[in-house]
C-alpha cells in the first residue's frame, strides 16, 4: 500500500496502481485543472494547466523535501511518499498565468460558441483566471473551416492541447489531424484532400476542451444548459456503448459516450452517435390498429388488452365477457401460439412478453427476432470495436430464451417452422430502425420478403414495431412500439455485459412502450418497473444471477459473475 500526500492529506493507493498527480488528487476530491491530459491518450504535458508542486516524504524521518520548481501533475507519477501541493500561492499564480496566456489570442466569442456552458476554458478561467485582461486588446476574430463531414474547426478558439490530433493517431488510427505552422501561428488542420472521415470522428468534439471543434450535427441546435443528461446504452450495435442521451423536452439533441472501462472507454462510433434520428422521424408508427373484417380500424390503447386477448384465444373479441385473463381450464381446442422476441427489446420486456404468451399457451414457441447485420466487425488500434450485428440485445434475448426453452430458435428457423405447421397466433416484437438504404437495409428487406412471410399468412398476427414494413402491413393487430431511448430495462452486449438504463425521453403520443404494455397485460399494478422485473429474472434464471443486486453504471459481466 502506497501513501501519497495531497495538500497534507494522506491518500492510500494500491501498490500496482499507476496514477498521476491529477488522478490521486481526484481521489480525495481535489481537482487539478488540465487540458492536454486525457486518460485515454498519451501524455504530452504541454498545456501546463496542471502545474503543481511536488516533493517526497522520507519514509523514516517523515521529513518532507519539496522540489523548487513546478511540475505538471499529469506527468508526475504518484509513488509511496510522493507529496503534491495543489493549492499553494505558486500553483495559483501558475494557473492564472496559463489561463491568461490561453486567452491572449482567444476570440472569447462565448455567446455564439456551442461549447459555452461546458467549456473548460470558461470554467477554469472563472475559477483560476485573473479578473482583468492585461494583454493588448484584440478584436474578435473567429475563423471556421470544415475538417470533414462531421466536424467543423473554429480555428482561433483552439488552445493547442493536441487531444484531437492524438486521438486520430492513437485511437482511431487514421491520423487525419495534424498541427500546421509553428509557435503562436499553430493551427489544427487536415492534409489537403484527406478530410477527417474516420468512423470515430465525432469523439474529437467531446475531447476538445474548448469550442474549437464543433459537431456539425449538433452545431447551433441547442445551448447546452437547456439539455438534460440521461445515462443510457447505444442500440446501434451489439457493442452496446455506454452513452449519455442529451435532450430537451423529449427531443434528443445529441448522444455522447459515457465512460465505461469495460466496453467503450471514453468513445463511441459516429454511426451510433448520429444514428438516433429515426427516433423523431415523422414516419414512425403512432397509432394502434386492428384489422376488422380485413380492414384496418383504429384501436384505442384501452381496448387493446381485450383485442389481444381475443386474438390469442381466438374468441370473438367484442362479445367476450372474459376479463381478458387467459383461459384457466379452457375447453376450447388447444391453440398453438408463438412470440418473437426482438433483439431490440430489453431483457425485462422480453421476459414479460414471454410470460404473457405462456399464460395462453405454456408451450408457446419463443423465437429470437431478426438480427440485422451489416458488413464485418471493425476494430480500431486501441481495441474499440464496431460490430456488424446492428442490435443491442441479442445476447440478452438469447440467454433468456435458453433459460426458458433450453434452446435459441432463430428468426429464419422460426419462419421455416411456421411454414411447416402454421401457428394460430403469433406476436412479433420489433423496435427496428427504418431500412435506410445501406446494406443492413437490403438484408432487412430480404428477410422480410413476402415468400418468407408466407408461413405467417394463416396466423393471427400481432406486430409491434417502430416503422411500417411488409410484416407490419400483414398484421391483424398493429402496435406502435418504442425506440431505445424511450425504453427502460437492460441490454446484454456481445461481451455478455448487462447494462441497465432508464428511459430518457417519453415516446411520441400514440405510442405505448413495450414494457408498459406488457406490464398492463400482466395485470400488474402501477407503472412498469424494470428493476423489479430484472430481480425476478435474476432470481429465476441462473444465467442472470449476477443481476440480482443493484447494477452499477458500467454494468455487470453475466458470465464472469456466474462463475464466482
Amino acid at each position: 500500500m502506497a501513501i501519497v500526500l495531497i495538500n497534507g492529506q494522506e491518500v492510500e493507493i494500491g501498490d500496482d496502481e499507476r496514477l498521476n498527480g491529477i488522478q490521486v488528487a481526484a481521489r480525495v476530491g481535489v481537482e487539478v485543472p488540465h487540458y492536454c491530459w486525457h486518460p485515454g491518450l498519451s501524455v504530452v504535458a504541454s498545456c501546463r494547466m496542471c502545474l503543481v508542486e511536488t516533493g517526497k516524504r522520507d519514509a523514516d524521518s517523515g521529513e518532507i523535501s519539496m522540489l523548487p520548481k513546478l511540475v505538471p501533475g499529469c506527468q508526475t507519477p504518484a509513488r509511496d511518499g510522493t507529496v503534491f501541493v495543489t493549492d499553494s500561492e505558486k500553483v495559483r499564480q501558475a494557473r492564472a498565468m496559463v489561463e491568461e496566456d490561453l486567452l491572449i489570442r482567444h476570440p472569447v466569442d462565448c455567446p455564439i460558441c456551442d461549447k459555452a456552458g461546458e467549456c473548460h476554458l470558461q470554467d477554469y478561467h472563472f475559477e483560476h483566471g485573473r479578473s482583468e485582461r492585461r494583454a493588448d486588446i484584440k478584436p474578435f476574430h473567429s475563423r471556421r473551416r470544415e475538417l470533414g463531414d462531421t466536424v467543423a474547426l473554429f480555428v482561433d478558439r483552439c488552445v493547442m492541447c493536441t487531444r484531437c490530433v492524438r486521438f486520430t493517431r492513437e485511437v482511431s488510427g487514421d491520423a487525419e489531424l495534424m498541427v500546421v505552422h509553428r509557435g503562436a501561428h499553430e493551427e489544427i488542420d487536415v492534409f489537403p484532400g484527406f478530410p477527417l472521415e474516420n468512423k470515430l470522428s465525432g469523439n474529437v468534439v467531446d475531447l476538445c476542451p474548448v469550442g474549437a471543434l464543433g459537431d456539425l450535427d449538433f452545431l447551433y441546435s441547442q445551448r447546452v444548459w437547456f439539455m438534460k443528461q440521461h445515462a443510457s446504452v447505444c442500440a446501434g450495435c451489439s457493442t452496446g456503448c455506454s452513452i449519455q442521451v442529451e435532450e430537451n423536452q423529449d427531443r434528443i439533441h445529441r448522444l455522447k459516450p459515457r465512460e465505461n472501462p469495460h466496453i467503450n472507454q471514453w468513445w463511441m462510433c459516429d454511426e451510433g452517435r448520429y444514428g438516433w434520428k429515426y427516433v423523431h422521424d415523422n414516419a414512425r408508427c403512432l397509432a394502434p390498429r386492428q384489422k376488422i373484417e380485413g380492414v384496418l380500424q383504429p384501436l384505442d390503447w384501452s381496448d387493446a388488452p381485450a383485442a389481444l386477448h381475443a386474438a390469442l384465444t381466438g374468441e370473438a373479441g367484442e362479445n367476450s365477457n372474459s376479463k381478458n385473463s387467459p383461459p384457466k381450464n379452457s375447453n376450447s381446442k388447444k391453440r398453438r401460439l408463438a412470440a418473437v422476441l426482438s433483439p431490440f427489446l430489453t431483457v425485462e420486456e422480453a421476459y414479460l412478453l414471454a410470460t404473457y404468451i405462456r399464460q395462453y399457451d405454456e408451450n408457446a414457441v419463443l423465437a429470437l427476432g431478426r438480427i440485422p447485420q451489416a458488413g464485418a466487425d471493425e476494430s480500431f488500434p486501441n481495441g474499440f470495436t464496431i460490430r456488424a450485428e446492428k442490435c443491442p440485445n441479442r445476447r440478452g434475448v438469447e440467454m433468456l430464451l435458453s433459460a426458458l426453452t433450453g434452446d435459441v430458435l432463430s428468426w429464419e428457423s422460426f419462419l421455416e417452422q411456421a411454414a411447416e405447421t402454421p401457428f394460430d397466433a403469433v406476436w412479433i416484437s420489433g423496435g427496428y430502425p427504418p431500412a435506410d438504404g445501406n446494406d443492413a437495409a437490403s438484408k432487412e428487406e430480404e428477410s422480410l420478403a413476402p415468400e418468407l412471410l408466407a408461413g405467417l399468412a394463416s396466423s393471427t398476427l400481432i406486430v409491434q414495431d417502430l416503422f411500417a414494413s411488409a410484416l407490419w402491413r400483414q398484421a391483424d393487430i398493429q402496435l406502435p412500439g418504442a425506440a431505445f431511448v424511450e425504453r427502460s430495462g437492460s441490454f446484454v452486449n456481445a461481451g455478455n455485459r448487462l447494462q441497465s438504463f432508464e428511459w430518457a425521453i417519453r415516446p411520441p403520443a400514440g405510442v405505448m412502450t413495450e414494457g408498459q404494455l406488457y406490464w398492463r397485460l400482466l395485470d400488474r399494478d402501477g407503472l412498469y418497473n424494470a428493476r423489479r422485473v430484472l430481480e425476478d429474472v435474476a432470481r429465476e434464471h441462473i444465467a442472470f444471477a449476477a443481476a440480482t443486486s443493484e447494477i452499477p453504471a458500467t454494468g455487470v459481466d453475466l458470465l464472469l459473475n456466474q462463475l464466482v
Binding site: S46, R48, M97, L102, I137, V179, G183
Partner: protein, 456 residues
Amino acid sequence: MRLNLLSEFEPILLANIHREHSHTLRVYEEQGGYRSLKRVLADQPREAFRDLIKGSALRGRGGAGFPCGLKWTFLPENHPGPVYFCLNADESEPGTFNNRILMEEDPHQVLEGLILSCYATKASTAYIYLRYEYPLAYKRLQSAIDELYAAGYLGDAVCGSEFSLNIYLHRGAAAYICGEETGLIESLEGRRAWPRIKPPFPAVEGAFRKPTVVNNVETAACVKQIADRGVDWFRSLGTPPDPNNPRDPGSFGPKLYCLSGHVEKPGCYEAPLGITVSELINDFGGGVWKGRKAKAAVPGGISMGLLTADELDCKLDFSGPGKYGCLGLGTAAVVVLDETVSIVDFLHNTCRFFAHESCGQCTPCREGTSWSLKMLDRIRAGQGRLLDLDLLLEIGDFIGIMPGTTICGLADGAAWPIKNAIRKFRDEFEQYIKRTNPTGYMETSPPLALELHSIH
C-alpha cells in the same frame, strides 16, 4: 573565417583548418589522423575508452555542458541494441558557427571523434543531424563519409576490428528547435521537432525508442583530441572544479569561441575554457570596433542573456556567466554590442527570434514568447507603458524548465535575455518609453493591439 591567434595558445581543434585541402582524408591522415582510432580499436576495450573520456571530465559543447562520459554511462547495461548515436550538428544558436568551421574545414576530425564515441557507446548506427542551411558542410561531410567507407573506416569491421558502424548524414528541418536533443530525435524520425517530455531520457529511450546518445560536433572533436593527447593534457587546460561546490566537475579543455558583433575582428577563436570576455574581445577580436566602447555582450549565444560593460571580466567557462545572472556558457558565442546599440532594439530582436522559433507545444513558451514580442513591438512603436516592463519580467520569470513550466530549454533561453536586459538596463527602457510615449507611459489599462485586424 580567418583566424587571428593573438594569444600564445597553440590551437588544437583548429590546428588543421588552414591547410590546403584540409577537409580531405589524405591531408587529415598526413597530420596523423585516424591513428588514434586504429590504436583504440586495436588495444583499448570500449569500457576503458569510455572511462578515459569520463576521467577527462569533458563537458558537452552543445550548450548544456553536461559531462560527456557520465551521459554515456546512462545507457542501459547489456542492452540488446541497437544503440544509436546522434551527432548534433544543427547549430542554430544566434552567434554560433564553431561547428560549421569544424565540419567545413576539418570534417575528419569530427568523424574520427564520432567513430570513437560510437565505439565507446556500442552504437552501430550514427546519424549526423546537420543544420539544413549548411550546404558546404553537407557536401564536405558527405564526401568525407564516402572516403571513409572506401578506406574501410566505416561499415562492417571498422579498420579490421569487430566493431562495425554506419554513419548517415541527415539534413535537418531548418528550425532552431531541431537542435534540442529530443526535438532532433523526433525530427530524425520524420515528425515535427516537438521536444519530448523527460523522463525517459534519450540514453534510455531515444531515437526509434532505443537508447541514444546525442552529442555536439565540438564534443566529438574533443573526444578525438583526448584520444590523441590523453587526459592529462586535457585537464591541464581550463578551470578546475570550484572546491566550494562539490557538484562542479570543472571546465577543462580547449574551446572554440565565436566572436561576433561590434568587434574589429570577428571570428572563431580557440582558447582554453575560462578566458574572460574582455580577453576574447581585446586579445583575439582586436577590441570593440571603430574605437567605441562596449555597452553589453552576449556571453554564449543570445539565449544565455546579457552582460553589461562592467561585467566583461566574466570568465567564459561553464560556471562563469551564471555568476553574473546569465543562464550559462551556452555555446560560448560572444556577441558584442557597442555603445550605440539600443538595448530595446536588442531585446526586440531577441524576442522576435524566440517567438519565431518556439515550437508551440507548451502554453507558457508559445504564448509568452509571442506576447513579449508584441509588447516590444508596441514599445518600439512609441506606445510603451512602464507596466509593460513588469509584465515582460513576469513572463521572463515564468517560462522555462527552471521554473518548471515548459518541456524544453528554449523557453529558458527566451526568458534570460528578457530578464537580463530589463533588470540590467531598466533605466534605458524606462527612458525610452517615457521619451517615445510621453502622454501614455503611465497607462495601466490594456491598450489596443497594434494591428487591429491581424490574426495573431
